[in-house]
């Protein structure tokens, strides 16, 4: 029986869709059976980042309105046999999607998949409520900016009222030089304010944008910084304890101490 995880943030443009695509890819690389669901009706782009746009025939609303079976709407990934996408509708009326509809779809998918990743639209309105409805767990994405952290805090507060487990945090688009100059919030500060567990951090990496433009999530690349970060997060989702890499994060105080005493590996 699979686990449904919603990826949400409140604010738009912080990397929910990018995170969904890359965690899906990373979990598939680890041989997990994964289904991605795009719930951003009218503004779908998970299919574009995955490079699957040209394969769409039916979408999530077609499934809900019984114009097709769920298996007909699912698109198999180009690269993996164990990765599927249920695309959002681009043109239909937004109100066609409801929390009950989402629960129905997720219940139907769960027996066949290890992970169901739900890409949430921005905002705290109906779209958010739909995306969260069938989820067992939640990942909150934020960037190291005040406004983004504020919205993440708001979302965490709203998630407390849902049936999901306490959410985990991903801090995305960290720019090391800005953090060092004090022009960006640092990760410790963000985690302290939001007081939820940190699942991982992802550097701001041009490869992410380059890869999305080629319709191939960056996690597919072996060596880019963002790719390693996403794959580490996927392993943490599976329950492995993977330490935060220095490449992912600035040195912690303990690292510095270890260095001083020559204990660093």
């Amino acid at each position: 029986m699979g686990e449904a995880i919603v990826i949400t943030s409140g604010k738009g443009g912080v990397g929910k869709t990018t995170t969904t695509a890359n965690l899906g890819t990373s979990l598939a690389l680890l041989d997990k059976k994964v289904c991605l669901i795009d719930t951003d009706i009218g503004l779908r782009n998970l299919d574009v980042i995955m490079g699957l746009e040209n394969r769409i025939i039916y979408d999530i609303v077609d499934v809900l309105e019984k114009r097709c079976k769920i298996s007909q709407a699912l698109i198999k990934d180009k690269r993996f046999d164990c990765l599927y996408l249920l695309p959002a509708a681009q043109t239909t009326d937004k109100s066609a999607l409801t929390p009950e509809g989402m629960i129905e779809i997720i219940d139907e998918l769960k027996p066949d998949y290890d992970y169901i990743l739900i890409d949430c639209p921005a905002g705290i309105e109906q779209g958010y409520k739909n995306a969260v409805a069938g989820a067992d767990k939640a990942i909150v994405v934020t960037t190291p900016e005040k406004s983004s952290v504020r919205d993440a805090d708001r979302i965490i507060g709203l998630l407390e009222q849902e049936k999901v487990e306490p959410p985990h945090l991903i801090v995305n688009r960290i720019r090391n030089h800005m953090v060092k100059n004090g022009d960006m919030l640092d990760v410790d500060e963000i985690v302290q304010v939001l007081s939820i567990d940190l699942l991982g951090i992802v550097a701001d990496d041009d490869d992410v944008i380059r890869a999305s433009n080629h319709g191939e999530p960056v996690a597919f690349q072996p060596n880019s910084r963002a790719s390693i970060a996403y794959r580490n997060i996927a392993r943490r989702i599976l329950g492995e304890s993977v330490p935060l890499l220095s490449l992912e994060q600035k040195e912690t105080f303990m690292d510095k101490v270890k260095k001083v005493f020559g204990l660093q590996k």
Binding site: R150, D153, R154, G157, V193, L194, S195
Partner: protein, 227 residues
């Protein structure tokens, strides 16, 4: 002059105090008030005298209090300043308790959330930016105050706000508002805010100074003693 059976009169510099026996019947009491007042003939040029009524352990309704005031008012040199009783209704006692109890909450108040309580608030947790706590009494926060705190929300200017880490975006006490400086300053550990006597603004000081500026923080005791 008839001897008073149920009422003892004491004159002070501020006026008269009538001590009412609390075991006789209400009618007997009213009768005696009439009797006393009609027996005392006051000169026209005498100044107004204020009267304080001490009921002892007798509870009277608002209607009864009104009757008493009317009887005394008939004698035009007297005004009832205060009617005091040593007993209150259970209902009222429970309201006092609710208004002065310390309410403990153990959570983070996040952006967009508002925690509103009657009485004093003890919050174990942070108030994040965009979050808000409101109490009719004092607010004590064991955590970071980064949002808005409003103490004495129904008008009590004596209320205080204290936090382990004080970095609020805004503090309000009763009707007085103070906001953080625009230059995004660091917060201060173990601070409190209060309004000084006759002051019109919120003063910040170390929590340890509260013992001096607010010796009677326990609102319930204050209320029982002063009504």
């Amino acid at each position: 002059m008839p001897t008073n059976k149920w009422i003892t009169i004491k004159g002070t510099r501020d006026g008269l105090t009538l001590f009412m026996n609390d075991s006789c019947s209400w009618e007997e009491l009213l009768g005696e008030v009439e009797e006393i007042l009609s027996a005392k003939h006051m000169a026209v040029d005498e100044p107004l005298i204020t009267v304080k009524i001490q009921l002892g352990n007798r509870y009277i309704t608002d209607a009864q209090a009104e009757t008493l005031r009317k009887i005394i008012k008939k004698h035009n040199k007297l005004v009832v300043e205060e009617i005091v009783s040593d007993v209150i209704l259970k209902e009222e006692a429970l309201r006092w308790k609710d208004e002065t109890d310390l309410k403990l909450h153990n959570r983070v108040i996040r952006s967009g959330q508002v925690l509103e309580i009657t009485g004093d608030l003890l919050l174990i947790g942070d108030v994040n930016p965009g979050g808000k706590v409101v109490a009719t009494g004092n607010i004590f926060i064991m955590g970071n105050l980064r949002g808005v705190a409003h103490a004495g929300a129904t008008g009590n200017r004596k209320a205080v706000i204290a936090a382990s880490y004080m970095a609020p975006s805004q503090l309000r006490i009763a009707d007085i508002i103070s906001r953080s400086p625009d230059s995004d300053g660091e917060g201060v550990p173990m601070e409190c805010g209060f309004i000084e006597k006759d002051g019109e603004q919120i003063i910040m000081d170390r929590i340890s100074s509260l013992a001096k500026s607010r010796p009677e923080l326990d609102a319930f005791e204050r209320r029982v003693m002063n009504g």
